[in-house]
Amino acid sequence: MNMRNSTKSEDQALLKEQEFFSSKLERRSFLRFAGAGAAGIALVAAGCKKDKLEAGVNLGSGDIGILNYAYALEQLEAAFYIQVATSFYTGATQAEKDLLIDVRDHEIAHREFFKNALGSNAIGGLEVNFSSINFTDRTSVLGTAKAFEDLGVSAYNGAGFLIKDAGYLTIAGKIVSVEARHAALIRDLISNGSFANSEVIDAMGMEKSRMPIEVLGIASAFIKTKINANDLPTS
């Protein structure tokens, strides 16, 4: 009996001890959890603050920011021409198809170049929104291509003075003239002779240049991912 009782009390003691440890563990894990929770709340709070003040994919600052800005625009152009060349608009001639395939490949080359050049500093892939484009319609496709190419040229022209590294400036120069060749071609496909008309060239014979904030405002109609350019240089 005693033994039993004793055994029983031992069992109870053991049980109590187990309960104690268990509750201790629970408390410990609770505390750990609570700690994580508190940190989590802090992160969420920081996240909320970020969301309000500077939401979206951050391009970064300095030359990295400018390269990411170019990378974002090249992503947009490449995605567009990939879709164009996947199923050409009604009535596309072979000559038009060949030229648009070339343009697609140039834009992919630009996109991948920036991705590799930026390495771990590269922003992720952007989600595009082409819902306003009718890819079966020549006018819609070429009209969008014209807008993208003219915008791209003005973007590179406007970003050049923000670049600090001579090598990057030269690279931007190597790309912008190809974008200008595209722009002229697309314009001529729409209306021969409009390659450099007064819509894009002023009375001093100069092309437009646009600051990043203006360019991204225009491009945002086609990009679902929110882009945060707050840290880009402005002078």
Binding site: D102, A109, A117, G160, L185, I201, E207
Partner: protein
């Protein structure tokens, strides 16, 4: 004289230009109001000294680049002026319209660069005498039919435009961080590229085997005399990144070279245009 326009243009891309020139913006505005009222001709001198103060010790480099750009624009401008004025050379209609558009841009570029140089307090170089046959004044160079044969004219146009693009591109590093001057050069550079694209399409329509962009180092003309304007365009590695087949993409060597236009140095360009200058 487009000095006031230039300042407006500069302010668009360099919002701080007035601060650079004079920290007291209002004083600047007053100055320009005064300038327009009194005599626009008196503005360049004062403006030049302000530019020197604002952009400091690099004025010499900037001036050199601007004089070089002006020389190339003189070449292109006079070339198209003569071509448009040569009866029967360019077919009426779309072709004449396009060349007239290009002629006007080149003349505007001449005006711009002359004004920009004057605004530095410097004297624009004089227009050289040109020999568009590339005969150094003999008039019997490899392009002796330049103003009598339309295809020769278009071929020389293509070389001038493609070379112009490479020439401006090569000067960009010399204008690094030069705000307004760099932006102006870039804004001219892309116009030359648009011209090049169109001229190439005009040649394509005449049966030449060319695209709006430069493939490899093909000159698309078949004349050794113009090859120096295309050598180096076959580069397919950019900033250490190989473009052909990049990241498993089906980018051919040709596409890789087309996707990037290459710069030429001032010395390379001056050697190329030398036969055209008497």
């Amino acid at each position: 004289m487009n000095i006031l326009n230039i300042l407006d243009e500069i302010e668009k891309v360099d919002g701080e230009v007035y601060e650079r020139l004079n920290p007291r913006r209002k004083a600047m505005k007053d100055f320009f109001n005064f300038g327009t009222k009194v005599a626009a001709a008196a503005v360049p001198l004062a403006l030049g000294s302000m530019f020197k103060a604002a952009y400091g010790q690099t004025t010499a480099t900037v001036e050199q680049v601007l004089q070089y750009a002006l020389t190339l624009e003189y070449l292109e401008s006079e070339f198209y002026i003569k071509a448009v004025a040569t009866a029967g050379l360019i077919p009426a209609g779309a072709a004449l319209g396009a060349i007239t558009t290009i002629r006007d841009h080149e003349s505007q570029h001449v005006t711009f660069f002359r004004s920009a140089i004057t605004s530095l307090g410097k004297t624009p170089v004089s227009k050289p005498t040109f020999d568009f046959t590339a005969g150094n004044g003999s008039g019997t160079g490899p392009f002796s039919k330049v103003f009598t044969d339309y295809d020769t004219f278009l071929a020389v146009s293509q070389v001038f435009e493609d070379t112009g693009v490479r020439a401006f591109k090569g000067q960009a590093p010399n204008l690094l961080r030069q705000g307004a001057v760099l932006t102006a050069a870039l804004n001219v550079h892309s116009v030359e590229a648009r011209h090049a694209s169109h001229i190439r399409q005009m040649r394509k329509a005449r049966g030449a085997n060319v695209k709006p962009w430069i493939t490899g180092k093909d000159n698309g003309i078949g004349l050794a005399a113009v090859q120096a304007s295309y050598d180096g365009e076959e580069l397919d590695t950019q900033a250490g990144v190989k473009i052909t087949g990049i990241n498993g993409q089906a980018i051919t060597f040709n596409a890789a070279t087309e996707a990037f236009d290459e710069p030429l140095t001032m010395a390379q360009v001056l050697a190329i245009v030398d036969p055209f200058i008497v």
